[in-house]
């Protein structure tokens, strides 16, 4: 039980981008993910928070093997994932599934729901057609869809129900990890609660681990056992959700939590915690990448890059000043 399910070690993903004139401009590298290290334990939910451009979506695409890592290592269940092919690759795809933000773009409008949910089983050839139908019915029931849903098309369902279809498909290969990329942000409040409850029920029943990407800090807190905070391609803080929210250590984590909207009207009206915007990813600041917006930055923050170090309570933080 102690070995983590997924280990990410010093992962980098750089994209070449031509800036300036076509063909004549200079080729530059964007460091979308720049030395990220963390692990996900079996059956837990690891939440990643961060603003647009922090690299959280690129990170999930590398984990899903939709992008090749530039460098760094990934291990799943103790085995290396980099450069795998053949049967090992099929096993990995079966074990790691995904649910994305927009169920409309994730579900083919021309396929019946039963075929959508059964497609992964068909592709990996684990079930006969008859077994597949039985399994599809079971999955649709698990996610709370009506009995005859299998013969309907996606457009006959509401947004929340379509997300249930996407979840049923992800479950069809009995995955050990599901990457949830903003799974509820396109849904209404009352529907969000239904989907969050469903995901928690599935985790309790199957022990599936989740990697949750979300911008809503309350949602991440509600769902996650561990949380990582990303800024410009780097993890600046990780730790158990409870202690990280109770005692945020990195100035960026603190600013992010302070910027979250209040749960009630009787809050103190503090000024916005962060001035300025994200620096250009083409020319990230030297040293600590957060220093240009950091309220407590000093000279050494420009000189040397801080690395994640353990701070007790399972929390780690990359900051010279903590």
């Amino acid at each position: 039980m102690s070995a983590p399910l997924l280990e990410i070690d010093n992962l980098h993903k750089h994209f070449p981008v031509r800036r300036g004139l076509p063909l004549l401009g200079t080729l530059q590298q964007v460091h979308a993910v720049d030395g990220v290290t963390f692990s996900i334990a079996r059956g837990e939910t690891f939440g990643i928070v961060g603003e647009s451009g922090c690299g959280k979506t690129t990170l999930t695409r590398v984990i899903l093997l939709l992008e090749a890592a530039t460098s760094g290592e990934m291990r799943f269940d103790g085995r290396g994932v980099n450069g795998i092919g053949g049967g090992a690759l099929r096993d990995y795809r079966r074990a790691v599934q995904a649910v994305f933000q927009d169920p409309n773009s994730a579900l083919s409008p021309r396929m019946r729901v039963g075929d959508i949910v059964g497609e992964p089983m068909r592709a990996i050839g684990t079930h006969s057609a008859a077994d597949r139908r039985i399994e599809v019915e079971r999955l649709l029931k698990t996610v709370g869809l009506r009995d005859n849903a299998a013969s309907a098309y996606p457009h006959e369902f509401s947004g929340g129900q379509r997300q249930r279809i996407a979840i049923a498909r992800a479950l069809s290969t009995k995955p050990r990890l599901i990457v949830l990329d903003e799974p509820i942000s396109a849904l209404d409040i009352s529907i969000r609660a239904q989907i969050m409850n469903l995901l928690r029920d599935i985790q309790d029943a199957t022990g599936t681990a989740f990697l949750l990407i979300a911008h809503d800090l309350a949602v991440v807190k509600h769902m996650s056992t561990h949380v990582g905070v990303m800024y410009l391609g780097k993890l600046v803080e990780t730790g158990p959700a409870d202690s990280l929210y109770r005692r945020p250590l990195h100035p960026y984590t603190r600013a992010l939590l302070a910027a979250a909207l209040p749960a009630r009207p009787d809050h103190e009206d503090a000024p916005p915690p962060l001035a300025g915007e994200l620096p250009s990813p083409f020319a990230p600041p030297s040293g600590c990448r957060f220093r240009t917006r950091c309220p407590i930055a000093e000279a050494r923050c420009a000189a040397a890059e801080p690395t994640l170090r353990p701070m007790g309570d399972g929390q780690s933080v990359a900051c010279h000043r903590v």
């Binding site: 209404d188 009352s190 969000r192 911008h215 509600h222 939590l257 209040p262 749960a263 009206d269």
Partner: protein, 329 residues
């Protein structure tokens, strides 16, 4: 209604009805909505997709989608003047000068081939006929007011050269350039990141303090309501089901729908095992039910709820709920 002329609200909306003709039938998107807004006040209109909050906002400006959208009844008075009696030319004068709007996506409000300075200048030129120098100064003043750094240098920039947060500031500068009395903001920060959202909401509050503009904030987010609003109207299926000042709404929500929404929110303070959910779907607004529209999803509903639409129950001054059980022990 304490109806003397001096205490008249800035905006009065009475029994507003909006219909949308669609291929699948006539949708009663807004079906008898009444509210008012005092000068300098911020009213939140909160509700889920399809509840009619955006159509209400568009109707106030008489900018419903065409063809198909129309105001089917009711009254809208701004500063005592009946907006539904105005000609299209008169409405053009009123929009931008007396009332302005900020939408969710700044790129849909901005012209991609016009510099931001020219776009801020447009309403000022249309409504105030300034001198050339006066116009230039007014544009820089507005860009400075929304805290665009070094406005003189940025005025020649185009929208694609700016970040999402900066673009939304430009939209704010355009909206407030003629000092309107009413600003309608429809999900103004939904497309922005958390820290940028905090900056923008603080900016809106500062601008309101400086100019005294009244605001209607259309949102699905109770966090924005808690941070920004004085009063709140909760909409469901084309109607306002509850109105209250913001503290009362969070402390003593009276309508089962409001209560269910607040209980469905995850909290940063406590970790609860499960969230409350609202089962079912909102009704089809092509043929809305005659009784309480929330009754089919309400855990407290009785047969009496299905008979007719519940009348307003006043629970305390300014706190009104449309539920036959509201206020019952």
């Amino acid at each position: 209604m304490a109806g003397s002329e001096v205490t008249r609200p800035l905006l009065e909306v009475e029994n507003l009805r909006v219909e949308l003709a669609t291929r699948s039938g006539l949708v009663h998107a807004v079906d008898g909505v009444s509210f008012h807004l005092e000068a300098g006040e911020t009213l939140g209109i909160v509700g889920e997709s399809g509840c009619g909050k955006t159509m209400t906002a568009l109707a106030l400006q008489r900018m419903l989608p065409r063809p198909g959208g129309r105001i089917a009844g009711g009254a809208i008075r701004l500063g005592g003047e009946d907006l539904l009696a105005k000609s299209e030319a008169e409405m053009r004068d009123i929009r931008g000068r007396d009332m302005a709007m900020i939408l969710q996506d700044p790129m849909s409000s901005l012209n991609p081939v016009m510099s931001i300075g020219a776009q801020v200048a447009e309403p000022i030129r249309a409504h105030q006929r300034p001198t050339r120098d006066g116009l230039h100064a007014a544009v820089l003043r507005m860009l400075d007011a929304v805290r665009i750094p070094s406005p003189a240098a940025r005025a020649g920039d185009y929208p694609h050269q700016m970040s999402g947060g900066m673009r939304q500031r430009v939209v704010g500068a355009i909206a407030l350039s003629c000092r309107p009395r009413l600003l309608i903001a429809d999900e103004p920060t939904t497309a922005l990141d958390v820290t940028i959202q905090a900056q923008y909401l603080a900016l809106l509050k500062d601008l309101q303090r400086d100019t005294g503009v009244a605001m209607i904030l259309i949102t699905h987010d109770f966090g924005i309501v808690a941070k920004m609003c004085d009063r709140v109207a909760v909409m469901y299926a084309g109607r306002i089901v509850e109105t209250a000042d913001v503290r009362t709404l969070f402390d003593r929500p009276a309508h089962p729908y409001t209560r269910a929404l607040l209980e469905a929110l995850p909290s940063m303070e406590q970790r609860s095992a499960r969230l409350m959910v609202i089962d079912g779907q909102p009704p089809d607004l092509r043929a809305p039910p005659s009784g309480c529209r929330f009754a089919p999803r309400c855990t407290l509903a009785t047969t009496a709820c299905l008979a007719e639409y519940p009348a307003a129950t006043t629970l305390s001054p300014g706190h009104v709920a449309h539920c036959i059980r509201a206020g019952a022990p």
